[in-house]
Symmetry: C2
Subunit: 146 residues, 2 copies
């Protein structure tokens, strides 16, 4: 259904930056990890930069750094910045206004959908990029042991 991978890409990028604190990471290197084109990365990072999550610098030795601690970036905050449309979608075409259900269902459903999405966002607000980084490091350790 939904084919919005922007949140996944954003988290991936910020984890990389969090693990490279002190140095700048280029969009090309990030693209190598995500396995896509650097322009795709720069597009996503542009939105994160405008929202104040990352900082960029041009020229030789340039690249991207976190603009605030990974501990203070919740997955929900990323979602709020990245998301462009509701998770639970309705049809583009309006239903029949001459029908009881058709004339009323849109605003009614919107209410139910917003509550459901709020629950999801609340859960996303309980985790930060730092949590994800921690899990990644742990998973890598476990993998090596085997």
């Amino acid at each position: 259904m939904n084919q919005d991978t922007q949140l996944a890409i954003s988290i991936h990028i910020l984890c990389l930056l969090a693990l490279s604190e002190g140095e700048r990471t280029t969009s090309e290197r990030i693209a190598g990890s995500v396995n896509t084109n650097p322009v795709v990365i720069r597009r996503t990072l542009g939105r994160l930069r405008r929202a104040g999550f990352v900082h960029s610098q041009n020229g030789i030795g340039g690249g991207w750094t976190l603009a605030r601690p990974a501990k203070e970036i919740t997955l929900r905050a990323l979602m709020d910045v990245i998301r462009t449309s509701p998770l639970l979608a309705m049809r583009r075409e309006a239903p029949n206004p001459d029908c009881l259900v058709g004339s009323q269902i849109r605003p009614v459903l919107t209410g139910y959908y917003e509550k459901a999405e709020a629950a999801l966002l609340e859960r996303l607000g309980e985790s930060t990029v730092a949590d994800v980084v921690r899990d990644i490091v742990r998973a890598a350790r476990k993998g090596r042991r085997v």
Copy 2:
């Protein structure tokens, strides 16, 4: 982004059937309310039928009816039947396995995503088709008063 309107269509259809208890409703009439093609309706209804939510009958005077009370159909149950892919998506292409983040992020993110979706589903499980029907009728009354 997500462009799956199946849940919205399903709820719309079941509200119509709930309001037409005792009679059969044709896919053409439903399509008139949803404002789409009858085949689209039959496609969605086919899945709901296989899941035991509705019953269909061919021939003259045929059509669709609810197979169980609207009170006993939660929005979550519909979501479980209708949904084909996770709400929070990841990229099709796998990330770089030679990178710490790239090699671990998929299973780690899956965990976070599943918890977030579970919260959304839980909220959807608190409402039924009967609730939606009630809200629709109320909204219509209010609209007339003005």
